[in-house]
Symmetry: C2
Subunit: 220 residues, 2 copies
DNA sequence: CTATTTCATATTGGATCCAATTTACAATAT
DNA sequence: ATATTGTAAATTGGATCCAATATGAAATAG
């Protein structure tokens, strides 16, 4: 007889754990740009040797989140205003197309899940969670497209500007504005109006771009 | 007195050397999809230990060129027809916009270098070099845009479909057709007609997509 | 003979150790 | 005082060793 062997707890590799933790710390700004990542220090924090740390750093570098120099180590990548603008331009190109193709494929569950996301975003009084909830809302809708490669690329772009986007939400009326735009996008999706959802998404991103440009100097 | 100290030969790390070599081997199809990458074997080939090999594989996985399973190792990623189509769609979205923004910034040197590329492409009788020359042509033009992030993303997309694109150039009249389209794109750039260059680029990519769909089943 | 179970081998993941290089700082010369 | 040089400490890159897991073949039960 064969037992239904269920994977109770699939332990992730140390390297993956370190990678995810560092990625999160970087995109949330817990480690500032330019700050060095000391292998030894990180290894001690995770009770591992430096080997998994080095693999994690290799992966972070491939993602563009850190820059390394031989024998000098890794530092967290920064973004110039120009580079940040470029990434917003990139998003403004990709995301409208992704949501346009996603709209006809959205299930009731998808729309409900997205509504939950913007409701939580709207109701949250904790600025630290805004960034996550914002990403949740958009990625829930995008996932309906089934365009995995596009989704991966968007994730990377978001990772690079996450810090600046969070700062953006906190300052001025960034939060309120984003919230209103989310609702409008969501309503277009519910109405099945793919073109409108795409255009609203484009405006949502372009607007964030313009706000960021105005404020980027005060952020550094 | 201070001498002009010039870095004569900056040695790359073993990990980088292995990474570049494996990347090249994968995108050119020298290691087939599904084929396992044995750390020990690769380490022996490069006269190193497995440590740099593992870092190289980590980076390749982050790029999506290999897939790894814990304790089972890495295998070269394949692409389903659907995934290949998605990447062509992605390129058809990005590259026209990049060349559109590049055209007004193209110097005489850029145009000359691109002409050299398509001339070499056109004249080459070696199918193995077609893929490289094709990429050279496009990236020369794109680089004028100065959009580094876009360029990086395009490079990754190209890496994933490189194998299939090469096969595409070899079969039927792929090579002749690509050549004619390159010349048309180049002429639009010379004329400073950004919109036309963008539209021709879009058609160039869509055309390749359609050919690939028709032939992808015979490729596997 | 077939299915299951050992058990040896192969392979990967991680720890420890050593070498190469950079960095910080003291010593010295101008 | 300032700049240069020498040297020790800190840090990274890589090699070797050990542990954890998978794979495959032999042994065994039915």
């Amino acid at each position: 007889m064969k037992l239904n062997s269920v994977d109770i707890s699939k332990t992730a590799s140390a390297s993956s754990i370190v990678f995810e933790a560092l990625r999160k710390a970087i995109i949330e700004g817990d480690v500032k740009e330019g700050e060095p990542l000391r292998q030894d220090e990180i290894a001690r924090m995770f009770n591992t040797s430096r080997i998994p740390v080095r693999e994690a750093i290799s992966r972070l570098e491939e993602q563009g989140l850190v820059k390394t120099q031989r024998y000098k180590g890794a530092v967290v990548s920064g973004l110039s205003a120009t580079e940040a603008e470029e990434i917003f331009d990139f998003r403004a190109l990709i995301e409208p197309e992704v949501i346009r193709r996603a709209v006809p494929l959205m299930s009731a569950e998808t729309l409900d899940s997205a509504r939950t996301s913007w409701a939580a975003f709207s109701a949250s009084s904790d600025p630290m969670s805004w960034g996550d909830l914002n990403r949740d809302f958009h990625s829930t809708l995008y996932q309906a497209s089934g365009l995995q490669y596009h989704l991966d690329v968007i994730d990377n772009a978001m990772d690079r500007i996450d810090r600046y986007l969070r700062a953006q939400l906190v300052m001025s009326n960034g939060m309120e504005r984003a919230n209103e735009e989310h609702i409008a996008i969501w309503e277009a999706c519910v109405a099945g109006n793919a073109k409108q959802a795409a255009e609203l998404t484009r405006l949502h991103i372009s607007g964030a771009r313009e706000s960021l440009i105005q404020n980027i100097n005060s952020l550094r």
